[in-house]
């Protein structure tokens, strides 16, 4: 089972979903704080769900408030960077670029 987890983790790194920041976080975990990565990840998922929901609501409204969308994306990108979710970070950057040029289709 542990080997499978290790393999899955490695593939996440290989496919670019996770980067070295995740490794940094793993190194902050020790016997005194054995659940650090789990705690941060949980916070990240909760925070992300909230942000994605806000973005979804904003998009559904039809009239695109690019500044607000950009602000949400900035927060999402920030936390993704801190946790090492590099693919998410890249997508956020692209989204923000679309906001910058006012591209609603993108």
């Amino acid at each position: 089972m542990q080997r499978q987890v290790a393999l899955i983790k490695q593939s996440l790194f290989d496919q670019g979903y996770l980067d070295e920041q995740f490794v940094e976080l793993e190194e902050l975990q020790d016997d005194a704080n054995p659940n650090f990565v789990e705690e941060v990840s949980t916070l990240y998922f909760k925070d992300s769900a909230r942000l994605i929901n806000s973005i979804d609501q904003a998009l559904k409204r039809g009239s695109f408030d690019f500044n607000r969308l950009d602000s949400y994306m900035h927060q999402f990108k920030g936390s993704s960077t801190s946790i090492g979710a590099s693919k998410v970070k890249t997508e956020c950057t692209m989204f923000r670029e679309y906001c910058r040029v006012g591209n609603a289709e993108g």
């Binding site: 976080l25 902050l28 900035h74 920030g78 946790i83």
Partner: protein, 197 residues
């Protein structure tokens, strides 16, 4: 999300740095707190510049004379925050006579040169690019500790020197007074019938 996330670790060990970490992102607060704790610092986290000012007692509210029970040795703040930005927080701290000596470090995920220069000009100790790594925190801690040590040495070195100087000064004064008294007595004898020896 909770109204105010104020978490501090009480301890009476004065050789540890007490850091106030300011960031609106929950994830970033968690990460920076861990980075600092693992570097043997006491940490208090707040989620906005306004809360940071409240914590320090700088918010102008007479009621809050500062919630802190420990002296803050370092402030680490995110740049982009709703309400008061990290830069504005930096300015407020540098404007206050009570807290301007506290080093302030700005963190940002965006590497914008004019922004960095603006913060450094305003008196920031350093500008860290996110994601902040353990190496960054360790380097920062060393910088702050060295700065604190140098200051301590300066004041402690002054003391023995000052004491010596004071002693010499006193001796000189006493000697001067006695000499004057002797001269005075010799020039103006107290009793007419006193014969000079």
């Amino acid at each position: 999300m909770a109204l105010g996330n104020l978490s501090s670790s009480p301890s009476s060990n004065t050789s540890e740095l007490h850091v106030l970490a300011v960031d609106d992102s929950l994830v970033d607060r968690k990460v920076i707190e861990r980075l600092l704790r693992i570097s043997a610092c006491k940490v208090t986290t707040v989620e906005s510049g306004t809360r940071a000012l409240q914590y320090l007692g700088l918010d102008g509210d007479k009621g809050s004379s500062g919630l802190k029970d420990l002296k803050v040795n370092l402030i680490v703040t995110d740049y982009s925050m709703p309400g008061l930005t990290g830069y504005e927080l930096l300015k407020k701290i540098k404007e206050s006579s009570a807290f301007r000596e506290i080093p302030v470090v700005i963190m940002s995920s965006e590497n914008i040169q004019p922004r960095i220069e603006q913060c450094m000009t305003e008196g920031a100790e350093d500008f860290l690019l996110k994601p902040v790594k353990l190496a960054d925190v360790k380097r920062l801690k060393e910088l702050i500790m060295r700065g604190g040590e140098a200051e301590e040495e300066k004041t402690s070195n002054l003391s023995p020197k000052r004491i010596l100087q004071n002693v010499f000064f006193l001796f000189f004064i006493v000697f001067f007074i006695i000499t004057n008294i002797v001269i005075f007595i010799m020039l103006f004898p107290l009793r007419k019938d006193e014969t000079r020896i």
